[in-house]
């Protein structure tokens, strides 16, 4: 009789303990949370310089890129690049067409200016309510003036967090 009472007490104690452990685990699980925003969370377009015969080209003049903001003032997107074969530029969140002013300044401080227009569709991108809102883009068209730039072409039309591959091939005129 005493033995069976003892067993019942042990069983009850065991069930209570197990309940407490599961309760603690459950509350622990619900209390702990992690924020997994992507580390690489900037959306940039990649440009690669190529010669007419599709060989990698190098920027021989110093290049600056400007754009015009909503208030009418200019802002610098790329500062004093030289000797580059690739570079990256920002892309607007939701403007249907970005206008970019490329300045190429040679050793004699002579500047050649070109304008590039990039048309795109903007796609809202969501990771989590804990991560900043961002936009991905689908490039639909690109055109330019032709002072220093010979031509420009879209090579990858989807712009997301991956800027390791180029979205544009930029062909510059040679002045030998």
């Amino acid at each position: 009789m005493n033995n069976s009472k003892g067993c019942a007490v042990v069983r009850k104690w065991w069930l209570t303990s197990l309940s407490a452990i599961i309760a603690c685990l459950s509350f622990g699980v619900s209390a702990c949370s992690s924020i997994d925003c992507p580390v690489q969370n900037t959306v940039y377009t990649g440009y690669a310089l190529y010669t007419q015969d599709e060989r990698v080209d190098t920027l021989r003049d110093t290049m600056y890129v400007f754009t015009r903001r909503a208030d009418g003032t200019d802002t610098l997107l790329f500062n004093a690049g030289i000797g580059l074969t690739t570079f990256q530029l920002q892309i607007s969140y939701s403007h249907p067409e970005d206008t970019l002013r490329f300045y190429f300044i040679n050793g004699d401080n002579y500047a050649v200016v070109d304008t590039v227009w990039v048309k795109k569709e903007d796609i809202p991108h969501f990771e989590s309510v804990d991560c900043s809102a961002s936009f991905f883009h689908r490039l639909t068209a690109v055109r330019s003036t032709h002072n220093a730039i010979d031509s420009i072409a879209i090579t990858k039309n989807f712009v997301d967090y991956d800027a390791s591959t180029s979205h544009f091939h930029l062909y510059l005129k040679r002045h030998d």
């Binding site: 069983r11 069930l15 197990l18 309940s19 599961i22 309760a23 685990l25 459950s26 699980v29 619900s30 702990c32 949370s33 992690s34 997994d36 754009t67 903001r69 909503a70 208030d71 802002t75 997107l77 920002q90 607007s92 969140y93 939701s94 403007h95 970005d98 796609i123 809202p124 991108h125 969501f126 990771e127 989590s128 309510v129 804990d130 991560c131 900043s132 809102a133 936009f135």
Partner: protein, 234 residues
């Protein structure tokens, strides 16, 4: 060795062999009898042992204390106190408005269901308390409203809106369950369950990822979840 000695040894061997044979034969007969008797005793516990209905208090409290949670009930069939086929049905709600850091809002509400089986892991299966191990298959189909108040593009400074309405999502997932059910009084039981969840298929629409999934919880947060159930035997 004399002839008399040889005869004596032979008689002894035959006697011992006969004795052994008799013993073996009687043991086998006894075992056979026992087996026969065991097989004759019928199982006094019926296969159908009734139903249990339960309500999850954890999801309910979660909804009251935070901006997401679920209301969930379950119907469990008791087969021989060993197997428990179960259907869980719930309604998940999230209403996260204007996040203080990112400014994002996320709204969804949708039903979900889980079906599966629990197994009583206790040695004494017919007692009032149970320790369960089990699995679930779950599915939900839900729409999300997702938006952010207008904000300026950091470079161009154009005002930028961000939002989608009625974006369609769906998800299938599996859960491994470990639970406990303790009798409190009469037909009233209380029980806990801890669950390990794995998404097996999903559709996330065009905006990227999901946040709160009805019945699953916050996606990407943790693979563990739990319930605290009020259970009634019927």
């Amino acid at each position: 060795m004399t002839l008399r000695h040889l005869i004596s040894t032979c008689i002894s061997s035959v006697t011992i062999s006969l004795l052994l044979l008799l013993t073996a034969s009687s043991t086998t007969q006894a075992q056979g009898l026992k087996l026969k008797m065991f097989s004759l005793v019928p199982d006094s516990i019926p296969m159908m042992r009734g139903f249990q209905v339960s309500f999850d208090l954890f999801g309910f409290c979660q909804r009251q204390l935070s901006d997401y949670g679920q209301y969930e009930g379950a119907l469990r069939l008791n087969l021989h106190d060993q197997w428990f086929p179960i259907v869980e049905v719930g309604y998940g709600v999230a209403d996260h408005t204007n996040d203080e850091v990112t400014g994002l809002s996320y709204k969804t509400k949708a039903p979900y269901f889980r079906v599966g089986m629990d197994f009583n892991l206790l040695k004494k299966k017919h007692g009032p308390n149970r320790l369960y191990g089990g699995f679930r298959y779950a599915y939900t189909n839900y729409k999300v409203d997702l938006w952010r108040t207008n904000y300026p593009d950091p470079t161009w400074q154009w005002d930028t809106g961000f939002g989608v309405v009625g974006e369609q999502y769906s998800q299938h997932w599996l859960e491994g369950v470990l639970g406990i059910d303790a009798m409190i009084v009469g037909p009233l039981h209380l029980g806990w369950s801890v669950r390990y969840k794995r998404r097996i298929a999903h559709s996330d629409g065009v905006v990227g990822k999901t946040w709160y999934v009805p019945g699953f919880g916050i996606w990407g947060d943790t693979r563990l979840g739990g319930t605290f159930n009020v259970i009634i035997d019927i």
